[in-house]
């Protein structure tokens, strides 16, 4: 049986190492948003509505960053059984789930004025919703399992299968739609908006990295405390 090595105690991260980076990410995002809003003229078809895209698109795209991290570190956890990998995957899953929820909300705020309805069964929208539900399940699983090793292995399995399922869900929903109804027209990004979009993509990516990092630090500190207690209990028994 392979198991998480109980001897290696987790080291709590040094205090405040990510704070500077966090400030930078937040200020960069504000700057990127202001720049994008100021430099972009109102869209020909969509008017000011186009400006939602500067948050919606970067947030939506960066959910994939999160779930890619989940996939990567879940596989590595099953392979090498380092507890840090599990904590990192879980942090990315939490941030990713929140960002998926935000993506859905922003998509609705776009859809109501653009299409006249809050929701359409569009492949991208629908697969985003399914993705959200899959990773809500992932987070629930972690809540319901106490043993750290079991929690790590199980959530890694759920994370890997969930990430695998994303393209499959997208494909099946697209088939389902195209066979029966006309697909909703995708919002094309005008070349003049590319700078604003790219700037915001970078900003949201930085923020995503920061949030995952911070969540990971918190998880690591929490587990480090549990390790200390465990070692103290074991040491007491030996002495």
């Amino acid at each position: 049986m392979t198991s998480v090595n109980a001897q290696t105690t987790l080291q709590a991260p040094a205090q405040g190492r990510s704070t500077g980076f966090g400030w930078f990410a937040v200020l960069f995002l504000i700057a990127a948003q202001v720049t994008a809003i100021v430099i972009s003229p109102p869209d020909r078809d969509m008017g000011d509505l186009q400006k939602i895209m500067y948050v919606h698109f970067p947030v939506a795209l960066n959910t994939f960053t999160c779930f890619f991290v989940v996939l990567l570190f879940s596989v590595r956890f099953l392979w090498q059984r380092r507890e840090q990998d599990d904590l990192l995957a879980a942090s990315a899953a939490e941030v990713g789930t929140i960002m998926t929820g935000l993506t859905l909300a922003l998509g609705m705020l776009w859809g109501r004025p653009a299409w006249g309805v809050w929701w359409v069964w569009d492949p991208r929208l629908t697969s985003t919703l399914v993705l959200f539900l899959i990773f809500a399940g992932y987070l629930a699983l972690r809540e319901f399992v106490e043993d750290p090793e079991r929690r790590g292995v199980w959530s890694a399995a759920v994370g890997i299968l969930g990430a695998l399922n994303v393209p499959i869900v997208y494909m099946s929903v697209r088939w389902w739609r195209t066979l029966h109804q006309v697909q909703s027209s995708p919002s094309t990004v005008d070349p003049s908006y590319v700078i604003g979009i790219r700037l915001n993509l970078t900003a949201v990516l930085l923020l995503t990295i920061f949030l995952i990092w911070r969540r990971y630090e918190a998880a690591l500190t929490e587990r480090a405390a549990e390790h200390v207690l465990q070692t103290a209990a074991l040491g007491g028994a030996n002495a």
């Binding site: 049986m1 392979t2 099953l78 399914v130 539900l133 899959i134 809500a136 399940g137 992932y138 629930a140 699983l141 319901f144 399992v145 090793e149 079991r150 790590g152 292995v153 199980w154 890694a156 399995a157 759920v158 890997i160 299968l161 969930g162 695998l164 399922n165 499959i168 869900v169 494909m171 099946s172 929903v173 088939w175 389902w176 066979l179």
Partner: protein, 228 residues
């Protein structure tokens, strides 16, 4: 050689599960009764309109099989967990995947029988005529059930051993089953409508592809999951 050993082990596990199920009987009967009840409730939700009922039949059929089948997946580990028999079972030599394959086969038989009942009842309740292409419908049921059972058996291996398993299994399983259910429902719908658009074949091949992907993925990860 090694494969034949594994196959024999898988069969033994399946046989053991099915024997337990057959001896108790209460399990299957109550799950089947629940499936029929869900179908009746779908009928009430749809109202007395014959056309609406006919259009909704494929969805109602698969969903009632799903809702009732979920109970079977947790049960398939529950008997062993209650008897403390899972640990000894894991001590037997050989790969864990033969245990998974065995559970899979037992659950497949269970859900396939359930499907047979559900299909007959929904044909009657929702005024659906037996389609000319009924062998194709059997194919859809076959591959749809495989997909259902593969993911169900896999996630139950975790959910049944956690707190709050009643909630956790559907929460994990249902979103994952979206592609399988979608393909199965659409294929069923196409066949029941006479397959004018010739799309049932495409949905069935999609279903087969999903089954293969999920079978491979679950067989790879089951070893880790069951040992943790």
């Amino acid at each position: 050689m090694a494969f034949r050993d594994e196959w024999a082990r898988a069969r033994a596990v399946a046989w053991k599960d099915l024997t337990t199920e057959r001896r108790s009987k209460a399990g299957f009967n109550s799950v089947a009764a629940l499936a029929v009840t869900i179908l009746v409730l779908f009928g009430f939700a749809l109202g007395p309109d014959t056309e609406a009922a006919r259009a909704a039949a494929p969805g109602a059929l698969w969903l009632s099989a799903l809702f009732a089948g979920v109970l079977a997946f947790n049960r398939s580990y529950q008997v062993e967990l209650d008897g403390g028999a899972l640990e000894p079972l894991l001590l037997y030599p050989g790969a864990r995947r033969s245990l998974f394959a065995g559970k899979l086969m037992a659950n497949f038989v269970f859900v396939a029988l359930l499907m047979a009942i559900v299909i007959v009842v929904s044909l009657v309740l929702f005024h659906v005529a037996v389609p000319a292409a009924w062998p194709m419908l059997l194919l859809v049921v076959l591959f749809g059930t495989i997909g259902l059972v593969t993911l169900g058996t896999f996630y139950a291996a975790m959910a049944s051993r956690s707190r709050a398993r009643e909630v956790l299994l559907p929460l994990l399983l249902f979103p994952m089953l979206v592609p399988v259910l979608l393909a199965a429902m659409q294929a069923t719908k196409a066949i029941l409508d006479g397959d004018i658009m010739h799309e049932a074949g495409a949905w069935i091949s999609l279903l087969v592809a999903f089954d293969l992907i999920f079978l491979i993925a679950t067989f790879f990860t089951f070893d880790y999951v069951i040992e943790a």
